[in-house]
Symmetry: C2
Subunit: 340 residues, 2 copies
């Protein structure tokens, strides 16, 4: 049986999201066990309310502290050794759980996971990989913010890890990989990206060349590789633009009686647009490069969103993602011998 540890206290909704999601997962997956980590008294109360029958395969481990959503990673590491996040990750380290899922603050989760689980040899810090929606599916992007100033050899590691993740989550045998650049011609970009392109061309990856940021949402590249600074900007620019557009739509439909009437009729249509763009359906960012599976759920995820993040963790374990990554990186030339 596969077991996942759940940071039950993390995120904006805490137990309101994690407990219903956990119950849902138990109902859907007869072979999965979950360990809910956090305030045991409160968790037990929630579970009791849900009925004893549903307690099978659900364990509770007490943790007295909670990492705040704005808490500095260093503080969380030093002063929250009994936080729900830390204890949930410890369970993976101790082999009691196969993967950990948390909606807690990203910086603290990265720092704690790196400190407790350690990174795979050759990896300095875990990369964050998530999928973004496009018209006909979704595109995976990494790194989304954990690594700034990534040299070419690190970008190649991102490409390998991301390809294996897509293989595991989507069943795609040989995902297409693009390097994010500011143009598609060979002369475009900075020295890092040009050197990375040479490494990608010589690698075993299904490398398709440079892609521009708009192609994240249009093209048919399965994976887009970039430095964490750039990836984070792309992600947040997208979120900001989407929010602005949906806000403008709301404003225009409530402008006067006629537009409000049109808005009423358009309601189901607008709802299905929102559903298509719903970040909950794409929830669950993978921290790649650790000696263990850790999935970061969006802080604002509700029970549905959190369940998607747990599903990501289940797939990673089922497909042995961590050992696949370890093997792939062992086959790589030592990053010290590659151009920095």
């Amino acid at each position: 049986m596969i077991t996942l540890s759940i940071d039950a206290m993390g995120g904006d909704f805490g137990l309101d999201a994690t407990v219903p999601a956990a119950l849902d997962i138990i109902d859907r997956h007869p072979q999965i066990g979950l360990i809910l980590v956090g305030d045991a008294r409160r968790i037990e109360a929630r579970l009791a309310a849900a009925g004893a029958r549903r307690r099978r395969r659900l364990e509770v481990v007490n943790a007295e502290q909670v990492v705040g959503m704005d808490e500095a990673p260093a503080t969380a590491l030093r002063k929250k050794k009994n936080s729900s996040m830390r204890v949930a990750i410890n369970l993976v380290k101790d082999g009691r759980a196969d993967a950990c899922v948390s909606s807690g603050n990203t910086g603290a989760l990265l720092a704690t996971a790196r400190f407790v689980l350690k990174t795979i040899p050759g990896i300095d810090r875990p990369a964050i990989c998530a999928s973004l929606p496009r018209m006909d599916g979704h595109t995976y992007v990494l790194d989304l913010g954990a690594n700034v100033d990534s040299p070419p050899a690190i970008l190649l590691q991102f490409g390998l890890m991301g390809s294996l993740l897509i293989n595991c989550l989507e069943g795609v045998a040989n995902p297409s990989v693009g390097l994010l650049n500011i143009g598609v011609e060979d002369i475009k970009g900075n020295d890092t990206i040009k050197a990375a392109a040479q490494l990608f061309k010589r690698s075993s990856l299904n490398y398709v060349g440079y892609i521009e940021a708009n192609d994240i949402y249009a093209g048919n590249t399965d994976l887009v590789v970039c430095d964490g600074f750039v990836g984070n900007v792309a992600l947040k620019a997208t979120e900001g633009a989407a929010q602005m557009i949906m806000g403008a739509i709301g404003e225009e439909f409530t402008r006067n009686a006629a537009t409000r009437g049109a808005g009423l009729l358009a309601k189901p249509v607008l709802a299905s647009i929102r559903r298509r763009l719903d970040h909950r359906r794409y929830n669950g960012a993978s921290l790649l490069g650790l000696k263990g599976s850790v999935v970061k759920s969006h802080g604002a995820a509700d029970a549905t969103g959190f369940r998607y993040a747990v599903e990501v963790g289940i797939k990673e374990v089922n497909k042995n993602l961590v050992s696949n990554i370890e093997n792939a990186l062992t086959d790589l030339p030592d990053s010290d011998t590659l151009p920095a």
Copy 2:
């Protein structure tokens, strides 16, 4: 009288956009003269069709070549010495025009403007600054792609030039300036951005601190400064996401008879959303740091869009943007003495 040179052949629409825009500008601005540069025979034919009365303040200069939209900058520089783009920029160099506006290919325009007009001392290559729409106005961002790997001292130059541009185009006395980063805390970002923050704090700029990419569309920062690689990614991610969302809206409204009915009623509302997001209203990116005003219009700009770009050029000249930038940069400590 202020005179602007117009690359009449540039962009996807060429004369179909530039000639009507020029006529419109002449009608709106009694003190402005324009020089249309390109295939004189074809331009004259268009002007004749518009009536002789409208020929006042409109000069035509022949140029036999056209720079292709995908042509390499180096090729354009070497082999297109009589292109409409090159001749239009030459007119600024020779003092016959006060500013130049082109929808031509960005790389060629940057290279040609830099070669012909030269940059202001201390500036290596011109930066591209444009405004992006937000709910309650727009935010200027630079650099949008001309400079990759910009060190802190160059980012400070961007801040100064962008502030002066906003002052000139919007009449804002002391525009607020943010540095694009992947978080707002001091520990976030790479070494370049941290060193830049120190320079910005000590500068005369109205520096408000780090801002994240989503705040480009939400916040109330007048100017966002970033490296050209990062800015270009933010811009294109936004374009891609907006296109995807508007595409999804179109798809949902044409799904079946009921949604098509709702779509008919929602049509005026959707049109006003598109109008709000219409990039034509924000057309006209300024190439900053040159010894002359050059405005880049979007390649896909129609006559309305192109007119907005010409208006940007007119304002730059009216407010002496180039000499204001020259003065501000002279007052800066030598960039060699600043941390790289």
